[in-house]
Symmetry: C2
């Protein structure tokens, strides 16, 4: 039943991260051809932005070590944008050489995560990204900046708002076209979401350039998304079938499931262009490949049989 709520966006673009953020955090390493099929099926379900892979050093993330083989298999899929993550200049060159025209960099809002993830201070990590973003822009690419740990950090706990805003504005000033505000450990609640969005607007970062990226570790992802929609956010990251564990929490508590998001958006009359049945079928298929049930409640409820 469709009942719109006032003042929500008429249309939301789902930035599908299952093939990258999802599979990167799954224990299993999925064969390249299965990944390619996954991306094709996601596109067939109507998703228009599908983050395809990450050009990290293969030994860092074995799950995505096949980026060079995967990307050529999917880059001709029609009607979709296929952003890829790059950790540094070398990863960027690998991606550009294969024809990638949507690039994402992955920054942290906290010192400790910058240290853990990149072995650098926050400022050093931003200095590292600056030439990467510039080179990507010079090559004509669209650039997304991920900002992880925006709402909490497993070591530091609460993250000071001015620090998050500083990282966001730095990425914006480098030339990022879009920022994805990440709740990497899933601790945020709606008041925090509103507070950060308001603070970013006050510093001149417009809502149209912002995406939200929630993890469902504590079951908060969809409520936080709703709060973001109320603020006017119209780009939402989600992972088909809820793929992607989180190293700081047990079992199936990874990304917001695209299907659960889609159920809400459909009910609110918000256009996405995505076909729920096809997406559920795709996630049920992928769950079979991974050998475990999908953590998405919508996938479980709508799948024809117990996975």
């Amino acid at each position: 039943m469709v009942v719109p709520a006032p003042e929500l966006p008429a249309r939301v673009r789902i930035h599908e991260v299952g093939a990258r953020d999802g599979l990167q955090n799954e224990k299993a390493v999925v064969p390249t051809e299965v990944k390619a099929e996954f991306v094709r099926r996601l596109a067939d379900a109507g998703l228009t932005t599908i983050e395809a892979t990450s050009f990290v050093r293969p030994e860092w993330v074995p799950q995505l070590a096949d980026a060079e083989r995967l990307f050529p298999l999917v880059r001709e899929v029609s009607g979709v944008e296929l952003p890829v993550l790059v950790p540094n200049q070398r990863g960027l060159e690998r991606a550009l050489a294969l024809g990638a025209d949507r690039i994402a960099v992955f920054a942290s809002a906290t010192e400790t995560f910058a240290k853990a993830n990149l072995n650098r201070t926050l400022d050093e990590s931003l200095a590292l990204f600056e030439p990467v973003v510039r080179r990507a822009k010079d090559a004509g690419a669209w650039v997304r900046g991920y900002v992880s740990m925006c709402f909490g950090d497993p070591w530091e706990g609460a993250v000071p708002l001015p620090q998050v805003v500083r990282v966001c504005t730095a990425l914006r000033d480098m030339g990022c076209d879009e920022l994805s505000l990440g709740d990497t450990i899933g601790v945020a609640t709606p008041g925090q979401v509103r507070q950060l969005l308001t603070a970013l607007n006050a510093d001149g970062v417009t809502t149209a350039t912002l995406a939200v990226h929630f993890h469902d570790t504590y079951g908060q992802a969809l409520a936080n998304t709703y709060a973001a929609l109320e603020h006017g956010v119209s780009t939402v990251d989600a992972s088909a079938g809820g793929l992607g564990g989180c190293p700081y929490a047990k079992s199936a508590t990874g990304n917001l499931a695209t299907e659960d998001l889609l159920w809400m958006l459909r009910g609110l009359g918000i256009e996405t262009g995505v076909d729920l049945s096809r997406l559920v079928a795709t996630s049920a298929w992928m769950a079979g490949r991974l050998g475990r049930p999908s953590p998405s409640r919508t996938v479980r409820a709508l799948s024809p049989k117990e996975q």
Copy 2:
């Protein structure tokens, strides 16, 4: 991290339904002494309203066939209200005889569910409840009216809003002190929630007399709860550990988990009086008794070891 959102209630009363709605829908039949221990632990965690059991005919709901033995074991627990469900006059007399002073009746917003649940038309079922509510009020009891299938019905699909409002106002007119608006099959989205609350207010049903009761079949329960809080609702039903399957959906997709709700309320700075750690420990203990992991994401994330 606590960040309030404007215009939300300062305090929320959680109406804990795990021991009744939760266990009623679990496959396993839990021993009476374990149920009593569960209620005591819930009270110890700070919950002040714990629905204890249902005085249905034992052959209808074998899981709750021990109401007569259970209620005396818990009625002296201090600091808590212990509402009990009664299906009819006979169940009410059984409950009153044991000293119950908080009574709940379970109505349906749809013809087909009234038929399936009570083998009566909607009007016949309301006529059945009228003397039950009157007798309970005459006996000095506080009465809650559950209205199930407010947002969708497995047979009828969408439920006409005027019909839901009619059932609610009928229960109010009988003398119910509180109405619990149930999304029994978990299909609602936030626009529907706002629409129903607004319609009820327009018919003179005040928000202070309303509770919301969401099932998480499609992962929507917490987002819907947030929308209800924004409307001013300050009584929320939830089930410790997310206990309670749903006959129309598979596996662990029952009630909103009290812990997931509590994580959000804590983050929003909304008082509940409930201690999250104690509640998680209780749900982890109960999951052990039931022999399956809790479906609550917060319970999974905070439990000391894999259940």
